[in-house]
Symmetry: C2
Subunit: 202 residues, 2 copies
DNA sequence: CCTTGACTTGACCGATCGGTCTAATATACT
DNA sequence: AGTATATTAGACCGATCGGTCAAGTCAAGG
C-alpha cells in the first residue's frame, strides 16, 4: 500500500543523491536499484525510462528546494536585501556540509544537469529552464520590494534578478571546480552589487 | 611524417568539437575515431586513455582561447573596462554562431566539463581549475589597471576578478539552459557592476 | 639491404549500458 | 473464494562502452 510510495520514493531519493553527487550519465539504473534495494523490474514499473526518472528527480528537488531553505531565504519577514545574503549563506553551509560528508563539493544539481544534458535532451533542458525561471522570480520579488521600500534605487528587476541567479550559479560552478565551499562565502555576498539599469531606448 | 601530426590533431579537433557540443561521457572513442577517420588502434597510440584525451582537449582549447579572442579582449591597447565588454561580446558572438550552426548553444567547454567531471576525476578537475585561475588573472590585470588610471575606485581586484569570471560562467550556463545567446548580450554587460571591497578586518 | 621503431589496421575483450519480458507474489475488490 | 490488478523478482537482450592486442605497413638510418 504505502510500499509503492516507499519504493518509488526510495528510488527517487537514491537517484537524486547519486545524480547530484556525480552526474546523470555516470549513474546507471543498476546502481540506483542496488542502492535503493529495488529490482530492475520494479524500477521500470514506476519509471518508464531514465529520462522520466531525471524529470522526477528535478521536480522532486525543485519542490524540496522551494519549500526548504529557499522559502526561508525569501521569507517576506526578512528585509529584501537580507534575503540575498540568506540565500548565499544557505548555499554555503549546504555545500560545506555536503563536502564534509562526501569529500567533494557536489554543486547545484540543476546547474550540473543543465550543462550536462541540455544539448542532448530538449525535454530535460526545458524543465531545468523552468526551474531557473522560477528561482529567478524569487529574486525579482525581493528586488521589487527593495525598491519599493527605498532600499535600493530603481533598476531593471527582471534582468537583475536573472543576473543574480546567474552569478550564484557561476559562483557555485567555480567553487565546485576548486572543490572549496569557501569560494561561495567569499564571492557570494557580491551578488548584491549586481545592477542592470532599465534600458532607455530600444 | 606530418601524418602523425595530422592524425593526432584530427583526433584532438574532433574530440574537442564533440565534447563541446555534447558532453564528455556522451561521446565515445568509437565516434571520435570514425568522425576523425582514424582507427581505434591509432587513437590509443596517441592517447593512452580517454582521460588523457580530455586533458589534451582542455589544454588545446585553453591555448586557442588564450591566443585567440581572449588575447584580443584583454589587449593592453584597450581601456581596461572596455576589455570586459569585449570579452562579453566575444562570448556572445561565438555562442550565437555556434548555435546557428549546430542548433544548440554549446556553452563554455570548461564550464561544461568542470561540472560534469570534477566530482569524479581529480586530475581533470585540477586542470580545469587551473584554466579558470588563468582566466581570472586576466580579469585581475584589467581591474588593477583600471584602478591605476582612476577609472574605478579601488577594490579587491583578485576577488572581484574571480567574481566576474563566475558571473560570466553563470551567464553562459543560463543562456545555454535557455538555448538563447541573447541572454549573454542582455546580462553580460552587468559584469562591470560587480564589486568586492577589500576586507577591513578578518 | 636490412633493421628499427613509429604508425595503422581491425578483430576482439569483458563489462556495463538502458531497457524488456515472463513468471511469481502480494493486495484489493466482488 | 475468486478474480483482477499492482508490484516484485531477476534472467535476459542487443548495443555500446573503454581498452587491448597481434599483425602488419611504412619511412628513415645504418
Amino acid at each position: 500500500m504505502n510500499s509503492e510510495l516507499d519504493t518509488k520514493e526510495r528510488i527517487l531519493a537514491t537517484a537524486r543523491e547519486l545524480f547530484h553527487g556525480r552526474s546523470y550519465a555516470d549513474v546507471g539504473i543498476k546502481e540506483i536499484c542496488s542502492l535503493a534495494k529495488v529490482q530492475k523490474g520494479s524500477f521500470y514499473h514506476f519509471f518508464p525510462s531514465k529520462q522520466d526518472l531525471a524529470m522526477a528527480v528535478i521536480d522532486n528537488m525543485s519542490d524540496d528546494w522551494a519549500n526548504g531553505f529557499v522559502a526561508e531565504a525569501f521569507d517576506e519577514a526578512l528585509a529584501p536585501i537580507e534575503r540575498l545574503d540568506y540565500m548565499v549563506d544557505a548555499v554555503y553551509y549546504w555545500q560545506k556540509a555536503a563536502k564534509s560528508i562526501e569529500g567533494r563539493m557536489p554543486g547545484c544539481l540543476f546547474g550540473n544537469l543543465a550543462l550536462e544534458v541540455s544539448t542532448r535532451d530538449e525535454v530535460l533542458r526545458a524543465r531545468l529552464n523552468a526551474v531557473f525561471e522560477k528561482a529567478s522570480s524569487r529574486f525579482n520579488e525581493a528586488l521589487e520590494q527593495a525598491i519599493e521600500i527605498g532600499d535600493i534605487p530603481p533598476l531593471d528587476t527582471k534582468a537583475t534578478a536573472t543576473a543574480m541567479l546567474a552569478y550564484l550559479e557561476g559562483v557555485i560552478l567555480l567553487a565546485k571546480t576548486r572543490n572549496d565551499p569557501e569560494v561561495v562565502r567569499n564571492l557570494g555576498p557580491a551578488i548584491k552589487s549586481i545592477r542592470i539599469e532599465y534600458k532607455h531606448k530600444n
